[in-house]
Amino acid sequence: MSIAHTCAAGMGGLRAAGDLVARLQMAKGMRLAEAKQAVADALGVGVRDLSDNQAMHELRGERRLGRIYEAEVSYFRDPSPLEAKLNIEKLLGLELNGVRALRERLGG
């Protein structure tokens, strides 16, 4: 069922930019159009590009925002999830709670 919804109507999560739009919805209560526009503006792309996994895979790699791993391609220089989330914080101007918890554990 999850796969059917993903293929029928989903933004693609880490394959595209759905996770970034979701972050603004959950943290800020932004409606979809506003959240999509904010992410598109931050990335310097059009709104339609946000669900285009071909475009976003390259862009996420360039901006070091994390991306899915493909068994046939090595991305060993890509950021770890926490590194990627530090970059997402800067991109969205949003403190991510998982990163906040890490900072607390680091004492700063």
Partner: protein
């Protein structure tokens, strides 16, 4: 000459109908919502669009490119193989949902209170392993506080005995206990790094169940202004198992999706999830048309994102653990296209 179209019943079983019969099912679904819940019917062009979707011979349908919405999902931390973090990671990497949700198999805030430290540990590991938002979710589950499972009187036993005052008092006592437990668990998981908290299936035990969720949301919003909070509903109408409970001057019993949205948004949630249950004896077309008609008033009133519940047995999706993709994809597209939802 028109030929029969493969479609589904609400239990997932296959049925073949003529296009005109599917159109009649859609109209009957809208009428069922209008008659029972006093909402406006869908417009003619909306019904035409639904008819196009449900009479298509395609095995799979989808929204137009560019019209995709955010997919949040409960229960993604339940593994087919391996552990919870592995399940969340696989959902991120393979299914590509936009968010995932860590949860316990016993999807209940009172149940997970006793294991909150272990859930915190798992959340910490999930935050280190995943890039997409990782929420924590469970149900208010007010019934768990009644005897013999919990400490307060059992209102399901008291009500048939006409001991109304005792039943109401028991529910009010349970609300206080539930709020404390939900706040305790939510704050523990927030401390561990959760990207948001989900109060799922709110109102499942009636108006007191919803009141507990709303009070927990209010409390958390006051203490944590940045916390993402999602409230998903249990059904299209809040049962009045108490009957007199109010939130912000609004009586909770009998609230329909628009009213539910208004109280949830006023409490301080950042995402609202309406739920409309499926009638397994009716077609998917009937159920979807009814669900969309019931949820449409939400969209104009919403100041926060609306993620309609379209899991097993809600929103038009068949009541089946293995819902057929032809039915699921039609529900997905129909809800997004007609309602212009913020997410599913």
């Amino acid at each position: 000459m028109a030929s029969r179209v493969v479609t589904r019943m609400g239990d997932g079983s296959l049925v073949e109908l003529m296009p005109a019969e599917i159109r009649a099912e859609l109209e009957a679904g809208v009428e069922a919502a209008v008659t029972r819940f006093k909402v406006e019917p869908l417009a003619g062009d909306e019904l035409d669009h639904l008819a196009d979707i449900f009479t298509s011979p395609a095995r799979f349908v989808s929204v137009a490119v560019g019209d995709e919405v955010v997919l949040s999902q409960d229960g993604t931390g339940q593994p087919q193989q391996g552990g919870s973090v592995q399940a969340l990671y696989e959902t991120e990497q393979l299914i590509c949902q936009d968010t995932v949700e860590l949860s316990n198999l016993d999807y209940s805030y009172p149940a997970v209170k006793t294991i909150a430290p272990y859930e915190q540990q798992t959340m910490k590991e999930a935050q280190e392993r995943l890039t997409i938002p990782v929420h924590y979710g469970a149900q208010p589950d007010l019934g768990r506080y009644s005897r013999p499972d919990g400490p307060v009187g059992n209102w399901s036993e008291l009500l048939p005995q006409m001991r109304i005052d005792e039943a109401r008092a028991a529910q009010e006592e349970a609300v206080e206990l539930a709020v404390a437990d939900m706040v305790h668990v939510a704050e523990a998981l927030w401390e561990a790094g959760a990207d948001g908290i989900d109060f799922d299936t709110a109102g499942a035990a009636g108006d007191a169940d919803l009141l507990a969720a709303l009070r927990a949301v209010e409390h958390l919003r006051r203490r944590h202004p940045d916390m993402g909070i999602m409230v998903g509903m249990a059904s299209e109408v809040v049962l009045g198992t108490h009957g007199r409970l109010e939130h912000g001057g609004v009586r909770l019993a009998g609230l329909k999706p628009e009213g539910q949205l208004r109280v949830v948004q006023a409490a301080g949630a950042t995402i609202f999830g309406p739920a409309v249950t499926v009638n397994t004896g009716k077609t998917v077309a009937w159920n979807t048309a009814r669900a969309i008609t019931l949820c449409k008033p939400c969209m104009a009133a919403a100041e926060i994102p609306v993620h309609m519940n379209v899991g097993m047995g809600v929103g038009g999706v068949p009541m089946s653990a293995f819902a057929p993709v032809d039915a699921v994809s039609r529900v997905s597209r129909a809800c997004v296209d007609v309602l212009r939802l913020d997410g599913l």
